[in-house]
Amino acid sequence: MIAEQLAANIIYGLLLGGVYGLATMGLSLIFGVLRVVNVGHGAFIMVGAFTAFWMFTLYSIPPLASIVVAVIVGLAMGFVVFMTIIRRLLDAPELSTLLATFGIGVFIEELSKFFWGPDYVGYSWDIGGISLPFTELPFTKLYAFGSSIVIAALLYVWFSRTKLGKAIRAVVEDKEGAMVCGINVNMVYALSFAIGIALTVTSGVLVTLFTPVGINVYMGGDYTLKAFVIAVLGGLGSPWGAFYAGFIFGLLENGSYTLLGLIPGVEPFGLTRFVSFTALLLILLLKPTGLLGGE
């Protein structure tokens, strides 16, 4: 009985972790390349969630297809935000970028509220699932997990094999050296920011695949906090670290449930947050730069 519950928890933890991982990669990428902390991170996840919602509700477009829409929306938003605001802040003190990205997040939330209202919405894409003896696995969650892995893998290949990908990695290593080699650093910044935002918006679609209800213009806030924890855990600036750390976080949040429940008198779910943060602290004590963090 306990074993079954444990197994179910671990599966759910992994599935959730995949979504968490992708939702954090954008944040890590933007910090890694531009050294900008995007405090408005959650607002972009929310945009992705609403993208999936509207595509499904208005045009009956299944969420998996909405991923394409989300990527386009994300790239467009990323470019616009970079060109108008971020570009001017690259040499500004850190506090300015924190305030600016925070302001951008609030702006997006309020603008969304103006158009979409403050209600909690959702959609039903009922496509069945796998029935295991100890639990049910809806296909939507499996698709979310799978998409996350596919996107992360595609991104990895893109970064290591393509010209632009290598240019971005060069800029991360040595901005001036890259410039002298002929790399247009500003364009690299714009592209990286746009890709980071596109990743974040896309993860919003996956979040709704995982949880198709409770979509609301202020939903981003919870995700921002978790994303920061996961980003630090994975090593700030390493998107791959963030991806792995997402899994660990998902496992801690859900996977530890049954184990914690074994401790008498403990209310497990109330504790999972404590557990996640404690684990974070422990890992940072052992490896201060995070799992895959560099210098």
Binding site: K166, A170, E173, G177, A178, V180, G182, I183
Partner: protein
């Protein structure tokens, strides 16, 4: 005329690092720039490669005014440089490092072509066997050679070498000079080599030499003549030499 600097001045606050400098480099030339510490050599290089923009004056490359052009736009025109302390892309492989030069320099190569070019230049420079090693693990000499290969992969018309030979032993210095001379001939590159101390090396390499002092051109002319000029010796040693 490949490169022309007209009346170029660069100030940093109250300090004038480069002062009304005129300079000309011909196609295929082997030029030496020499001067003691603080004479403005590094600033000059940064002005030519575009890291700094001059406060006054003009920089013309192949007849085109590049004074205000950012570095990444000068590279495709045919300008490449090495750094006194090498700047490798540490976590990439040696091969990838050189390929970056091929991709974003004048050759504009695609990824596969660039990797092939990288192999070629690594062989020329003599570190082909290190091609898959992570760049940050190389010895300082190997890093310098890699950076040279990367600069060459940019197919430059003008190559700026910044204290390339500093810290090398005499045998390596001779080898590198021969290598540079060979490539220079084959690919018609104008090579400007900047040194502070290695006069013998400059003598072997450069036909012409410019001596800088306090941001100005002190003297210019055929190498041996200039280097033996009393004024030059005084600037370096602060006194007369017997």
């Amino acid at each position: 005329m490949l490169l022309k600097l007209e009346n170029v001045t660069k100030r940093f606050g109250g300090l004038v690092a480069v002062n009304k400098l005129d300079l000309e480099v011909e196609e295929g030339e082997a030029l030496g720039i020499v001067g003691p510490n603080g004479s403005g050599k590094t600033t000059l290089y940064n002005l030519i490669s575009g890291v700094y923009i001059p406060d006054e004056g003009k920089i013309i490359f192949e007849g085109k005014d590049i004074t205000n052009l950012p570095p990444h736009k000068r590279a495709p025109l045919g300008l490449a440089r090495t750094f006194q302390i090498p700047r490798p892309f540490g976590s990439a492989s040696v091969r990838e490092n050189v390929a970056i030069g091929a991709m974003f320099g004048r050759a504009h190569a695609g990824v596969d072509e660039a990797l092939e070019m990288a192999d070629e230049y690594l062989k020329i420079v003599g570190i082909y066997e290190l091609r898959n090693k992570e760049a940050k693990l190389l010895t300082p000499l190997e890093k310098k050679l890699m950076e040279l290969a990367r600069a060459l992969a940019m197919k430059p018309k003008l190559l700026l070498l910044d204290e390339l030979l500093a810290g090398m032993n005499p045998k390596d210095i001779d080898k590198i000079i021969d290598l540079i001379k060979r490539v220079k001939e084959e690919e018609n590159i104008a090579v400007v080599s900047m040194v502070e101390h290695l006069m013998h090396a400059i003598t072997k390499f450069a036909e012409r030499v410019v001596v800088m002092h306090q941001g100005r051109k002190l003297l210019e002319g055929p190498t041996i003549e200039v280097l033996n000029h009393p004024e030059v010796i005084e600037v370096y040693l602060g006194g007369r030499v017997v």
